[in-house]
Symmetry: C2
Subunit: 210 residues, 2 copies
């Protein structure tokens, strides 16, 4: 990670995982070079956007000749730290949490839920996919022995702010929340919201309005 990465626009960074995955698939299929127009067609992103995004990571392509796929994979992989497994903590092991724990990013060797927490005494102690469900109060101690890079929360809205306050207190700086209500966190903490209802409503709305 070099300091100049700080200038890369957020939207460009958000496209990195799809670039990375698509390029890995192409490499697996034996491709060595690709032009922005071809890549754009596969992932449905404008070639000019792709060229601009790639330019933030250095001069990686030659006009009319395309990009070296292996080189791009190396650079993007370094930025995404795909060679290092990133440990995650799951908070909330209801239906959705359970599904996440069973799947546990199995198609992505660099992400792994390594600890799980719930408030329900009936499920604390249960093991799912080799992960023991613990009381949330154990998180602080776990952080001193385990490399937890971020938290996935399926905690419902009414309990979320309390849980998030505790996470912040523990020093967690990355939270993905499946509840739609925004939570209050210090500026140094990153929260992403992933609400299925909002996603479906937006989908239907956009389809309706054409």
């Amino acid at each position: 990670m070099t300091p100049q990465n700080k200038k890369i626009p957020r939207m460009s960074l958000e496209r990195l995982p799809i670039y990375y995955r698509t390029l890995c698939n192409l490499a697996d299929d034996g491709y060595q070079r690709i032009k922005s127009a071809q890549l754009g067609k596969i992932i449905q992103i404008e070639p000019t956007t792709i060229r601009r995004d790639f330019s933030y990571f250095g001069d990686l392509g030659k006009s009319g000749y395309g990009y070296d796929i292996g080189h791009l994979i190396e650079i993007f992989g370094m930025i995404l730290e795909v060679n290092e497994t990133q440990g995650l903590a799951l908070i909330g092991v209801g239906n959705l949490g359970r599904a996440l724990l069973i799947n546990n990013f199995r198609r992505n060797p660099n992400l792994e839920i390594i600890t799980a927490y719930d408030a329900d005494p009936a499920i604390i102690g249960e093991t799912i996919n080799d992960v023991i469900i613990q009381p949330l109060a154990d998180l602080q101690a776990d952080l001193s022995t385990k490399q937890i890079k971020g938290v996935i929360s399926t905690v419902p809205s009414h309990a979320l702010q309390l849980v998030v306050d505790y996470l912040v207190e523990c020093g967690i700086t990355s939270i993905l929340s499946f509840a739609p209500e925004p939570v209050n966190v210090p500026e140094s903490v990153h929260v992403r919201y992933l609400d299925l209802t909002t996603e479906v409503q937006n989908l239907l709305l956009l389809a309706e309005l054409g």
Copy 2:
């Protein structure tokens, strides 16, 4: 739904569900009016953005006096069609699909998974939360008797394009896919992608880059 809605920017439409839900919560708590600055603080959106978004739906507020919450709820509810239950079909009843079916948008009375399909003979015929799992080939016939407004797909990448081709053939125009790989569809069909791996990778990346 009035024709002038067609001019409303996509980003403004995407914020409608969060506006709607927050205003409903405020109304439940007995509030009748709110200023953009107050609302902005709750949902962490700039007041100028809120005022601009609201202006697309007519002149709804008075300077210094704020917005009428009931009026906003009525208008936004009409646009979101929250009074009408929107039926959804679920394709793919693995761990994630099962969790979606068990939860089934229970906190949102206007969204409901009403049919579910899978390719696995071992689970076809099983009933989850009152929905029977059917073979995908039944979808075409179901569409003639049931109001299915959109599809949620948890179908893995390798099978997805085939399934999507069938959905398009059946006349489905709204698809939410949990697989990251883009699919080819005609322009009239809307696809949203919701990939958990991408979400988590982006979260960790943004936290890392500050």
